[in-house]
Symmetry: C2
Subunit: 515 residues, 2 copies
């Protein structure tokens, strides 16, 4: 078959063409969730061909090929941007004069990071800022760290869209972006119901799409102890719902941590104590306080027994293991909802407490110093969380806000708007106090949640808090303005395989295909 040459210049037909239709403009200007700090776009757009699209490291980049985090991200984002693209075979033609007009123009994404750190873990001081500049035939992404580069790649992937003919486009864009808060968490509870590994990994994927960066793993609690400890294997052998199917092996934990690291997500494990430890007692006899009825043990057990040495030895060993297994500098120690009734019923604990009080009387500053200054406090309870924020920051503590984001609490309709309306720094206090708010987290407690309903309850509802924690509050106060962008982002989540529920009547181009 003869090859018909196109008009000269035809191969450039979609290069930086100006788009005048409002819908195309809408597509990009509103198309990034959470909203970048600064985003400027023009109607000029470039079309992208999977055959000629590539990621590359900038010449001045500290990271180059071999950087585990970014190499994997390039692979991942290529498939996210071009999900239908599986092979080059038969599509690439050799470059010669007769067919050069048919070859699509290349588009190169050049990524430059200042510091290497490809083999490390994100932490509370990680710099997630980036700049992204999209122009004809190229995008230039610059960041201090690889974690910032990941955030930039996510934004880039959300800038690409398809027109009605399926052609991929990206508009000329300038982004300067950084997170408002360093800690943007999501809590999963794997004790009240066991969550299979894939459900956790999928959640990490969606967290990365929403730029959430801390997976708070509430791994054990009263109902079950699924963490398989090296030091104390009986904790899961006897405390898990099932000692083989309903546990997280060391290898599972490693997979979660690595999956998270690849997405710039910290894994903060929680081993809640001294309360919330019923399941611990099954595999660790003598750990829990025997409750008394009158002068005899009732047969039931309360919180961890503070009066015996073995408790402290056990806790020290377990925490040593936890600190070894989980690389993050944070370990969440819970400490909430301790039932004192059992402690008070136990004669040993009563004696122990009386001694403690005697000792405390000797210095009046003990109570304050009981909480070390470098401890981060989580505000998790109460409708009047503003008062708590004010009080805790006045005492000089860094705080995390979670109370208004317990999204396991569901209600009819668009309850994402409640999450979106939260203003984490809107409490009475000085500027210094406001700076002590290091972020917040969305909590999905597990009383009524397991793998059957986790995804649709999390997504896109958690996205509201994700934007509040990342974006400029002034620019994102209006939920009605955010709605079409969130609706589009929810469709994008579906396209990426996240079972995100609908916000309201309508449909997506790529619906959830279910079973």
């Amino acid at each position: 078959m003869p090859v018909l040459p196109l008009r000269s210049g035809e191969h450039r037909r979609c290069h930086m063409t100006r788009v005048l239709t409002a819908s195309a403009l809408l597509n990009q200007v509103e198309g990034v969730w959470p909203l970048p700090q600064q985003l400027h776009q023009s109607a000029d757009r470039d079309c992208l061909s999977p055959q000629r699209f590539s990621f590359t490291y900038g010449r001045d980049s500290a990271a180059q090929t071999g950087c585990s985090v970014l190499d994997a991200a390039f692979k991942r984002y290529f498939s996210i941007i071009f999900p239908d693209f599986t092979t080059l075979s038969g599509l690439l033609m050799p470059e010669n004069e007769s067919n050069m007009y048919f070859r699509p123009q290349p588009f190169v994404v050049s990524v430059s990071v200042k510091t290497r750190g490809c083999d490390g873990y994100p932490d509370e001081d990680s710099d997630e800022s980036y700049t992204l500049s999209v122009s004809e035939g190229q995008a230039v992404l610059r960041s201090v760290s690889v974690w910032g580069a990941l955030r930039g790649l996510e934004s880039l992937s959300q800038l690409v869209y398809q027109d009605d003919y399926g052609t991929y486009f990206i508009n000329k864009t300038e982004i300067v972006d950084f997170p408002r808060f360093a800690f943007r968490g999501l809590l999963l509870d794997t004790s009240r119901h066991y969550l299979p590994l894939y459900a956790i990994l999928k959640t990490l994927d969606a967290m990365a799409y929403s730029k959430l960066n801390v997976f708070h793993w509430h791994i054990v609690d009263d109902p079950s102890f699924p963490y398989q400890s090296r030091t104390f294997p009986d904790l899961s052998n006897k405390g898990a719902f099932h000692p083989f199917t309903h546990i997280y092996t060391q290898s599972d934990v490693i997979r979660v941590i690595e999956h998270a690291r690849m997405r710039g997500i910290r894994v903060v494990p929680e081993f809640d104590s001294p309360g919330h430890t019923q399941s611990w007692g099954k595999g660790q006899p003598g750990l829990l306080t025997p409750c008394y009825k009158g002068s005899v043990p009732s047969g039931s057990f309360g919180p961890v027994d503070p009066t015996v040495d073995t408790t402290y030895k056990f806790m020290a060993s377990l925490l040593k293991e936890v600190k070894f297994v989980f690389p993050d500098s944070y370990v969440h120690l819970g400490g909430d909802e301790v039932s004192f009734a059992c402690w008070q019923s136990n004669p040993n604990v009563r004696k122990f407490m009386e001694k403690m009080v005697e000792r405390l009387k000797k210095t009046s500053y003990v109570q304050k110093s009981l909480i070390p200054q470098d401890t981060v406090l989580e505000i998790w309870k109460g409708a009047k969380y503003q008062t708590e924020l004010s009080r805790m920051t006045q005492a000089g503590h860094r705080v995390l806000l979670s109370a208004p984001w317990y999204i396991n609490h569901i209600s009819y309709g668009q309850d994402w708007r409640n999450s979106y309306a939260v203003q984490p720094q809107n409490f009475s206090g000085t500027d210094e106090q406001k700076k002590l708010v290091i972020g917040g987290e969305v909590a999905m407690w597990g009383e009524y949640v397991d793998a059957t309903n986790l995804s649709p309850r999390l997504w896109p509802r958690a996205c509201a808090a994700a934007e509040r924690l990342w974006s400029n509050e002034e620019k994102t106060l209006n939920a009605d303005l955010a709605f079409p962008r969130l609706k589009e982002f929810r469709c994008e989540l579906l396209r990426r395989g996240i079972q995100a529920e609908p916000l309201f009547v309508g449909h997506c181009r790529h619906e959830y295909d279910g079973l």
Copy 2:
């Protein structure tokens, strides 16, 4: 390899052994949802082997092999009872003296129906009663119709359980059962969001497990018209979210009706009018009332235009098609929430109404006769549905209760208890009035529901109403007593592949395996 003979009698070891442990008893006595009208069980139990388990038609049965409904049910329930069983190969041994001790004992389920009707459709007069008698080596299931036999097979399948070694057991049981109400419906809304075919078919499966027997298909509404009409193809071409991917073809509709028929489920289609018809107007110009602003059309449209002849011709043709396609004697015509503002704004409609009123003045009984006596009224609105029940039944109308079962309305916690607490005949009225309550239906409206969250929102929440509509109210008043049985039924739903959400903290032997 030499075959070691067992002790004589060993092959009978699990035949009608008496079980003394409470947990095994719990397993069967509480193991049927919805609760049969009469159920008597003993601790004597028989073990079942997939290799020797069979369904057969009773000698006196009007239906025999070739009965489409029951042949398919035998196939289906075999796999439900023995999900791990795929092949006989290598398991069956030839019967001879040396290995006869190893052959498991047969268990035969004999099914006898009085009337054939295998090729018909269930209707409002279908007899769903059955008796089931399980004794050593056999179960005898008797019913008037094939639909009753389906209900009995479902109960039978719920009687079978496995012990910790995986052995299948069934206890000696006598069941006499029949539904309290003839109409036990579930509404799906495929207009506000499109539901793919598999989501509807899966819903029908779970309906059958819960003995719900009417699929109320709210197929079209304002947002979209996914029904592909033979007579008016433009209705879906222009009114569906997408004319190819988001429609129900005639073949899809046939599949739904047949899938439902096989499970003894009626399909009642709803073509809501004259309101809720915005999507109709796109493919049928001239159908809707042009709204006016002052003396000029505003450009928007209201309900169906009652002033033009073409409307009546169109509606007659469409309904003729609907009655041809859907075999059920019921067609739901909606008639709710008509916006009168637009009608009043339109000068033609105003004139039309004035004429109507003139005519109505001539006879004072017209208004009552506007609703024919054989119309079933659905009570769908209001917290005080008891008053409506009282009023409508006093007027002699048969009624369906739906108002307290709008389970698209979600709330935190165990809201199935609200559905369970509904007492459909608890309103002031005579016994004759109470009998006019022919049943009720669970509604899952689609504002916030699509395939991503349909199943976990429906199941097991819809099961509460299912039991209220099937079982004896006196025996099922206590939700706390129902809880462990419902929890077990939810685990059974998971085992059968229904994405049913958890009721509370815990786990199931067969968890949802998700992606």
